[in-house]
Amino acid sequence: MTSGNSSGEAAAAASAKIVLSGVSKAFERRNSGTPTMALQHLDMSVPEGHFVSILGPSGCGKTTVLRLVDGLVPPDSGSVVVAGQAPRPGPEMGFVFQAFRLIPWATVQANVEFALTATGLNKHERAERAARYIALVGLQRFAQSYPGELSGGMKQRVALARAFASEPSILLMDEPFASIDAQTRELMQVELMKLWAQHRATVLFVTHSVDEAIMLADRVVLMSPRPGRVIEEIEVDLPHPRWQYDIRATPRFVELRSYLWAAIKDLVLNDPSSDFYAPTSGNAGTPAD
């Protein structure tokens, strides 16, 4: 599997599980002629078994990156290569969507089983597998409930169980913990770290939270909007497993955190279309802070 010491960028990219090179993607806008440039000349590569966080303000194309990697949309130009091939959606990749996307008329059990449709497991195996992952996220008592009967945090856990159930080698997670309360989030983060330690999937994890990005990832990719592109990549050289110590108390974490915060603040303040736009040369009239 690992080809010894790979030295040099090219070798790293060649052995990477996910490679985006020179990717551009625009979307038609309904009520105007000019399309939105969601991504422009984006390069990104994720080595097998690595956990990469994508950090950036809303609208910088984070969701679009995940959809491209999953093969749900094609790039306009450039190339997306996943495990040496053009990506094809399926159970080999697990997708945790930003707004859950649970099937309202299917029970929790049926929702998770639905993700196993194309796995080749038979009906009995699918039921068993789904039940196992539902138990893993602590929802066995709610297996026969409908999503409408669950709290936001519980729906989120169903979405996680669904993405994990096919035991994918790649996980694409789109702000999975954004809409759950702080305590649940902490617990879910630890759960995710433990799951990842066991399965070692290749993970692309989109988040708004600087702390979360650093805490979970081997590398943080910082993106900037209009057009979406990568402006910075930072290796997080903190030892695993990270749930065994208070990572936030380490000097390295504090250092990374303040560095990323400064970078994001710059980004937002210099983006003319952000609510906090305040050109550094003269901020008269803007109620910043």
Binding site: R67, D70, L72, R88, P89, G90, P91, M93, F95, F97, A99, R101, I103, P104, W105, A106, F114, A115, L116, T117, A118, Y146, G148, E149, S166
Partner: protein, 246 residues
């Protein structure tokens, strides 16, 4: 509790009816009691049962035929969007048109018997069901479809597990509207073609001012309407029990 209130309101309506019947010239509004006697008589001589049977055949035949055509056509229009976009303008035009206008034409082709009556009911029922089925398919959550694609669900699976269930509440609204119009058109058909069924009795008693009998027919029609719409409400409860709103 609600059942009790409903019952009390029914009593109130009957009392109101009775008071009105006392104050209007007796021939025009029969008293509840006279109506009950007329109902007994109509039941005893079998006229009501025969007419009810005729009307139910017309209603059920036309309504069922309408559903059988409308749901598949609506689904095809929604799933194959070019088909839908091509046909929708004609569908809306036909739905907006007063379809009684077709009755003379229908009589020319189908005569005055059951085929003509059933076709008139069909014409009324088909449009609301079709339009709502089509709207239901169009309203499907595209994000759910993308989710299904991400797990490599096939087209048939996406249709059966995502598109169809999401259209069901719309289809039921269509079935409700369709049932109402089908019932109206049943009476219309019986008035304009061979005079038969409940509509036929309505015409006969109305024209001869036999108001007690006339009221019996009106009440029977109302009861059919209530039974059909309650049946559909139960169907809806069964099919969309995942909705937690009640």
């Amino acid at each position: 509790m609600i059942a009790l209130y409903r019952f009390l309101f029914l009593i109130f309506l009957i009392v109101l009816w009775w008071v009105i019947s006392l104050n209007v010239r007796a021939n025009f509004i029969p008293s509840p009691w006279a109506t009950l006697l007329a109902a007994q008589k109509l039941l005893a001589d079998g006229k009501l049962i025969v007419a009810l049977g005729d009307s139910l055949i017309t209603f059920a035949g036309g309504y069922a035929l309408g559903i059988l055509v409308a749901i598949p056509v609506g689904l095809v229009m929604g799933v194959f969007l070019p088909v839908g976009k091509t046909l929708e303008i004609y569908v809306y035009a036909l739905a907006a048109m007063p379809r009684v206008a077709f009755i003379p034409l229908i009589i020319v082709f189908l005569g005055l018997g059951f085929p003509a009556k059933i076709f008139i009911v069909f014409l009324g029922a088909v449009m609301p069901v079709l339009i709502n089925t089509y709207a239901g398919v169009l309203a499907v959550d595209q994000e759910l479809i993308e989710m299904a694609r991400s797990v490599r669900a096939g087209r048939m699976q996406i249709f059966a597990r995502i598109v169809l269930p999401s259209a069901v509440p719309f289809i039921i609204v269509g079935l409700r509207l369709g049932a109402t119009i089908a019932l109206i058109n049943t009476v219309v058909a019986e008035l304009y073609t061979a005079v038969r069924g409940l509509g036929g009795l309505l015409a006969i008693y109305g024209n001869t001012f036999r108001m007690a009998e006339y009221f019996v027919i009106v009440i029977v029609l109302a009861i059919i309407g209530v039974i059909v719409s309650e049946g559909l409400r139960h169907l809806e409860k069964r099919l969309v029990r995942w909705k937690t709103s009640d």
